[in-house]
Amino acid sequence: MKKFFSVALGILTAIGGFVDIGDLVTNAQVGARLGWSLGLVVMVGVLGICVFAEMSGRVAAVSHRATFDLVRERLGPRVGLLNLLGSMAVTLLTFIAEIGGVALAIELVVSVHYVLLVPLVAGLVWLILWKARFSLMENVLGLVGLSLIVFVVALWQLDPDWGHLGSQLVTVDKPSDETWPVWSYYAVALFGAALTPYEVFFFSSGGVEEHWQVEDLTTMRLNVFIGFPLGGLLSLAIAGCTAVVFGPLDASVDTLGQVGLPVAVALGKLGLAFAIIGFVAATLGAACETGLSTGYSIAQYFGWQWGKYVKPRDASRFHLTLIIVTLLAMAILVTGVDPILVTEVSVVFSAVALPLTYFPILVVANDPDYLGEHVNGRLANGLGMIYLVLIGVAATAAIPLMIWTRMGA
């Protein structure tokens, strides 16, 4: 019974934890402009994160090594350092976007300009990173983030033309007033948002934090293969909602307020309250995850003690890193930079940085010196290779598409 509960909890937190500010904004934008014609990309992205999260989780459970340990061991210190700089830049960008997202979400309730909320939010994030137990942080924020399910209910209530949405999804039928480069740009952005590198840094380091063993492999797989796809469903629901409300008006979505508006239209104040709570929890959870991921990556590259399973004074360099990145993110946000813009940039650069993370994971997941009998099977390797190619294409195309389409304008 206790086992069942822990599996259920893991799945629930995976659903709530999958959606972050990047997914919220990108899916809402895509829904408004392109309907469900990018739905298949979301599904491909979700399967991708499942494949690689499973590999990194397996490595963590069997060898107790997290992702950035592997990066340095398998790419050497020089390429490893380049990799660290690239991944850190992207993760930091995402961290900034998440903190800004929390502030924007709170602004929707308290009518105080978000810039004034940023120091408060940054302080809260740091406090959680310093004080809260790892499992408590993950479970509470993940569970509360589940209130985003209200988007599924809202979509149902909005009673869309399911046949139309479905045919858009299956036939990749983009609206005729949008061009293929724009479609491709958003495809790359969605792919980047679904596979954000911090997700595996966090997932594998979290596995080490929670002392996963070989016996935990089944639980880990259930979390991944049920939790993430259900999280992907939330993404589709968000896109569907904006497709119904903003699509026919040719309106574009540029603010977090617009993302929640369809829920208000469909379900009223109560539904909207759920959506806002979901925004806050999902972005706050992701802010904690990305903040931790920056600390994890640096500490794992240099060999410092990291993790929340030891007291902060036993991992002082790790916690000092967390303080510095939090202050840095706060300093950047109080300049008044638009967090939504930071989000849009972060998902595109995520796509660029994907190979840095996923290539070493695929290699080590095959290495019997680390995994013994638990090395990748044919299915994992087949999918892994296909995704390595997809990731390569997305990484190469991301910046040219961004310039060509002027960020999808």
Partner: protein, 157 residues
């Protein structure tokens, strides 16, 4: 040595990419002005539509006041930014007349967004119905304008 140059190349590529995305518009030829104008009109129309949806929802008691206010403040800001961006673009001679027409309509729309924001912040609920009507009309005329702008001057209407 190798690592250094790879790093240098990466930095250079990032700077170039940022520069290119940062300053894409600029040349005052017809097509590019039409593109900029279409985009600006579309963005302002989005802001107007958003404000209308929010006000309508609020009339049906579907929105908290703080949320409505945040949405309208954002709509005014994004609409204003889009209009400003266009007003600083030099129109080609052949588009002069349409340019001033576009400027007028955008100014009117952003003025309306401002009016709506003022009413909302002041809790002037009595004005909402009228504002919804005007926002709807403005949105549809902007949409018409956007369609017109897709064709070269003279072909329109």
């Amino acid at each position: 040595m190798e690592g250094f140059s790879v790093l240098a190349r990466l930095v250079a590529a990032t700077v170039v990419a940022a520069a290119l995305t940062g300053c894409a518009p600029g040349t005052p030829d017809e097509d590019s002005w039409r593109g900029d104008a279409t985009r600006a009109v579309g963005d302002v129309a989005s802001a107007v539509q958003t404000a209308r949806i929010a006000l309508e929802a609020s009339q049906q008691d579907h929105l908290h006041h703080a949320y409505l206010q945040a949405v309208l403040v954002d709509a005014e800001r994004t609409g204003g930014l889009a209009a400003d961006a266009l007003s600083s673009v030099q129109p080609p001679d052949i588009e002069r007349r349409r340019s001033s027409d576009v400027d007028d309509q955008l100014e009117q729309a952003t003025g309306l967004l401002q009016e709506a924001r003022i009413a909302v912040v002041a809790h002037d609920t009595g004005e909402y119905a009228d504002l919804v009507d005007r926002l709807e009309r403005t949105a549809s005329s902007l949409q018409q304008l956007e369609t017109d702008l897709e064709a070269p001057p003279g072909d329109a209407r």
